[in-house]
């Protein structure tokens, strides 16, 4: 599993995608927060006028919706297209080891991206009193959210076998999960489904997690979404053998 994770990380770092991801992610968060404001709302650190990082962390889901599908889209389609999947799957490694190895490589890269954004809370901390508890909570939440997005992207890559399709479908699904539970979106769905939509929403759970309340139910939710999509990925690989 670690060998596969290393292999994937190496190939990430050999391609521009890893650097684009890191730069775009850091730039998006820091830029939106300090300079041009959050998409659709225009609030920045300066307009909020306090040292709460709520606005800052609310940028994470929207950045992830675009950037993580881009990161995940190459993990399977590249192997399937070049035929190396036949090498990989005929080595004495189990399908779940391959899937988890690829997932791990993506998680490392997401963690690295989050690490690169640490100067933002540092800067804010320099302006005034910053409560670091919620900050760490929000970073953990971000990693869990990233993991869920990544597992969806990984699965879609294996299913679609094609980068662009995988990217679009993954981004659409992630966006849906983020928008669910939003008051505006709830206008369009029957009232009876609001509870379900709220329960499945990534945003509301992410917000709770980010307020420094590391809720077992929320972590468990992100963990299970990730696990489900990783398992679906293994199932796709196994089913393909019989196809």
């Amino acid at each position: 599993m670690n060998t596969i994770a290393w292999k994937e990380l190496r190939s990430f770092l050999n391609s521009p995608i890893a650097y684009i991801f890191l730069i775009a992610f850091t730039g998006w968060l820091a830029g939106s927060y300090f300079v041009w404001g959050k998409v659709g709302q225009g609030v920045t650190f300066f307009s909020v006028g306090n040292t709460s990082l709520d606005v800052y962390f609310s940028l994470v889901p929207q950045a992830f919706v675009l950037l993580i599908p881009a990161l995940a889209m190459r993990l399977w389609p590249d192997e399937i297209k070049s035929g190396t999947v036949e090498l990989l799957m005929t080595y004495p490694v189990r399908s779940w080891e391959v899937v988890c190895g690829k997932f791990l490589a993506g998680i490392w890269l997401i963690a690295l991206g989050l690490l690169f954004t640490l100067p933002v809370p540092w800067t804010v901390g320099a302006y005034g009193d910053l409560d670091w508890g919620p900050v760490w909570g929000a970073y953990i939440a971000s990693l869990f959210l990233g993991g869920a997005f990544l597992s969806i992207g990984l699965f879609m890559g294996a299913l679609c076998s094609e980068q662009v399709t995988a990217f679009i479908v993954t981004a659409a699904i992630c966006l849906l999960f983020v928008l669910m539970g939003d008051t505006l979106i709830n206008l369009f769905i029957p009232k009876g489904l609001h509870a379900l939509s709220n329960a499945l929403s990534f945003s509301s759970r992410f917000n709770y997690l980010g307020r420094g309340v590391v809720d077992v139910a929320d972590t468990f939710y992100f963990g299970s979404v990730t696990a489900v999509f990783l398992m679906l990925n293994v199932t796709v690989l196994e089913t393909r053998k019989g196809a």
Binding site: W6, S82, G83, T84, E86, L87, T90, P92, G242, A243
Partner: protein
């Protein structure tokens, strides 16, 4: 115990039946040539043996392990070079072999030593630090071979290993196959017949998902010859040669006689026992008073057998 046992293997892709009841056994030390036209089921069989695909029905075991139930054990024992030699292009040869070794749970001194041996065997030394995407087709093929041999597998499966190589490289790759085939089981998938004749002791020919011939390479030609071929050359003109052979028993097929100054030659194909046919031809020439210059029996080559067994109906466009 056989190294490989395949029993009544079937594989359907949707409504297309790629394999239709394939069975064979292979012992240690055998080099098997697995022949067939494109789309006959060669690659599908190899993909099932390596655990990449599951059969629709039937059973296959490798060193006693079932390919479906004990896939990892099977894959441990096989070195596989898939068709088209897929490789991780962004790695260097050394990184690639290292990764392959790690995926096979090799490490440290053992991996280093084995790497050195296979790099020597496949003459990859000069390109050891080169990125794979910069390599020529011949070198790529050698990297694929090195990868397949790295873990000293008991069984080596090579799918079209010499496609796209120049004649020198082909000779090199064949030498490697013969070398490793001395104490291992090798399956060589190919439709390059001289290659199979040169390297393999045994041949299986597959067509439309069914095995149509299975036997020692040398035996096959004899078994499937079906007809006796001779080239006859005599002193005299072509017309008298043709006339002399017209009364042969069994109504043989005569080729167009060919005159070359003082001598004339003709090919005779008779659907009878070769020894009887030869005796009849010589008797006929004696009766006609023609002096024999050359008399060559032509054995069916593997190519003839292959063509005969796998020729399909021509599809009109």
């Amino acid at each position: 115990m056989s190294m490989i046992e395949v029993d009544d293997l079937r594989k359907d892709y949707g409504s297309f039946r790629a394999l239709d009841g394939v069975s064979f056994k292979l012992d240690r030390g055998e080099i098997l040539g697995f022949l067939g036209p494109n789309g006959a089921g060669k690659t599908t069989t190899m993909k099932i043996l390596t655990g990449f695909l599951y059969p629709t029905s039937g059973r296959a075991t490798v060193a006693g392990h079932d390919v479906m139930e004990n896939s990892v054990e099977v894959r441990r024992r096989i070195g596989y070079l898939p068709e088209h030699t897929p490789l991780y292009d962004d790695m260097t040869v050394s990184e690639y072999l290292h990764t392959c070794g790690r995926l096979r749970s090799m490490s440290g001194a053992h991996l280093a030593e084995r790497t050195k041996i296979v790099v020597g065997l496949t003459a990859l030394g000069p390109k050891y630090r080169a990125p794979i995407h910069t390599l020529s087709k011949g070198y790529r093929q050698r990297v694929g071979l090195a990868q397949a041999l790295l873990h000293e597998p008991e069984i080596i499966i090579l799918d079209e290993p010499t496609v796209g190589l120049d004649p020198n490289q082909v000779v090199d790759v064949r030498a490697i196959m013969r070398e490793v085939g001395r104490d291992r089981t090798v399956i060589l998938c190919s439709h390059i017949l001289p290659e199979v004749e040169a390297v393999c002791g045994r041949v299986i020919i597959i067509d439309d998902g069914k095995i149509v011939a299975d036997g020692a390479t040398a035996e096959l030609g004899r078994q499937h010859a079906g007809a006796a071929h001779f080239r006859v050359e005599v002193v005299g003109d072509a017309a008298s040669l043709a006339v002399a052979l017209q009364t042969l028993p069994g109504n043989p097929t005569l080729g167009a006689p060919h005159s070359d100054g003082a001598t004339s030659s003709i090919t005779v194909t008779a659907a009878v026992d070769p020894a009887d046919a030869a005796a009849a031809i010589i008797a006929a020439l004696n009766n006609a008073g023609l002096r024999l210059v050359a008399f060559e029996p032509k054995h069916a080559s593997l190519e003839d057998v292959f063509r005969k067994l796998t020729r399909r109906k021509e599809h009109s466009a």
